[in-house]
Symmetry: C2
């Protein structure tokens, strides 16, 4: 299934999948896009759908005024700042900030957020503890950056798909496929952090807003596909099907089958009860649309 492999590979590299903590640092284009979203993108995309992030699935969180955005942090210049390293060389090869995120992700997922100290994160990153506080205000801020990294790429893809005039079922297949693919490929399976109780704090409202907005995109595409209103349960089951990739990986620990994202996307259309629309043509068009999202240029900033 060549087109499927193509889309997965490209979604790992390009703006569709660029913000991968510990793997791919935010580049200038990611930052331009992320800033656009932060300063109006989330609200604008929600507003464009006639939705707000305090919709039925939302947690009714609001960003605190004056708080520094974690998306802004994604876009800091990272080359020259920081204290001397504790150990020479960057474990990720991407600099201190990414080393901290990578080490923290590993510890949060394997030991738990509550049992991970900033000292342990510093050690994992080969840095002094003070360097952690140079880059991040707190352990919470590191967690926020990590979980934002799990939803921003999918949110970015959803934004662009919603602007497309392709049929709903093609776009729904494409979103489920891309989203499941990103969760499938995340080296640390950071989605397990969605269950971290600390995420209930107001300091994580930015993450919940982006995630709610992504889920609302699923609702819109589901409704375009079926032509009928979708209930909260419908949307929850659809999202659950996609996010099950996180649980499936967590449960088995060994690599899950490579065709899982495609199976999830097929199942999304099955759940929508449009059996006649689940065809090779739908898959091919969905894959093509995703591949086109990656093409650089002024026209691609959705």
């Amino acid at each position: 299934m060549a087109p499927v492999a193509l889309a997965l590979a490209s979604s790992r590299r390009g703006p569709g999948g660029g913000v991968r903590p510990g793997a791919v640092p935010a580049g200038p284009r990611d930052c331009r896009r992320a800033r656009g979203r932060r300063t109006g993108g989330v609200q604008a995309s929600a507003g464009g759908l006639g939705l707000t992030s305090s919709g039925p699935l939302g947690r009714r969180r609001r960003a605190l005024p004056g708080r520094r955005s974690a998306v802004d942090s994604l876009c800091q210049v990272t080359s020259t700042r920081g204290r001397p390293r504790r150990t020479p060389g960057s474990p990720t090869g991407l600099g201190s900030e990414q080393d901290i995120l990578h080490a923290a992700g590993e510890l949060f997922v394997t030991k738990g957020f509550g049992r991970t100290s900033t000292r342990a994160i510093a050690e994992g990153a080969g840095l002094q503890q003070a360097s952690v506080y140079h880059w991040f205000g707190s352990k919470d801020e590191i967690l926020l950056r990590l979980v934002l990294g799990t939803v921003l790429p999918s949110h970015r893809i959803a934004d662009q798909l919603l602007a497309s005039d392709a049929p709903g079922h093609v776009l729904l297949w494409a979103l489920a496929y891309a989203d499941a693919g990103l969760l499938h490929e995340d080296p640390q399976n950071l989605g397990v952090l969605y269950f971290e109780p600390a995420l209930d704090g107001d300091q994580f409202s930015e993450f919940h807003d982006v995630r709610d907005s992504l889920h609302e995109a699923y609702r819109v595409l589901l409704e375009r596909t079926t032509g009928e209103p979708a209930t909260d349960v419908d949307v929850a089951m659809l999202v659950g099907l996609v996010e099950n990739v996180i649980t499936y990986r967590r449960r088995t620990r060994s690599p899950i089958p490579a065709d899982t994202p495609a199976r999830v996307a097929d199942a999304a259309l099955t759940l929508a009860r449009v059996p006649d629309l689940l065809t090779d043509e739908t898959r091919a068009r969905g894959t093509e649309i995703l591949a086109a999202l990656d093409s650089p240029g002024p026209g691609s900033a959705g």
Copy 2:
């Protein structure tokens, strides 16, 4: 939808839903059943299916020899043991052991396992810290009891459904409905603890064995429904659909719609791609079979 309401109500009370930590203590019949499962039930049911708990979805965990079973602990006589209470009266009204489980569940879910001390658990339960160690060897042992309580009732129902000669699609609908119902009704939504990194330890193999066995029951019923072999991804998506109830509750925090379990059960048959079999008759038969599981008597010990 009266039959649906009936089955849910009965699954909350009877042996189908009896082992609910902090809500319903294990009664003699629960213990007889649980012991039967512990001393051969899990292996027997897996063996009966030609499956082992180290199957494709399994984590290849084995119980440690000589370790006290948490199922045995479920069945201890709890009335007369323990130190004097720190505060008078049992918060749950069910005695010290259940008070500890209830307080621990609340803290693990809201603060996180890693950030909860046995001192805090004791305080929540209105007991001396020493009392916690009187009832449980460690915080891990409390966690084990809590997560076992989330899967044993569903596993018990699955065991009985597998022994039925009703059509596969009726039994698959019934299992998804009962399982989703139990997750829906769990007062503390303890399923969120499935993501706790501590569960990777060997001391939790009993939980993983029971859970794997439950998932294998889904596989068998899915295959009976479709008449075709089910892949790991098929089973994972089916389980993910049911366990999404946990995530959905976690995400919204407000009560989720009452018809969620029935919608999940319908979606399970939709995912199995048997649209002609998803009928009111299927739902009615599934509900009847579940109601019959609750009837007490010597014939009901599956």
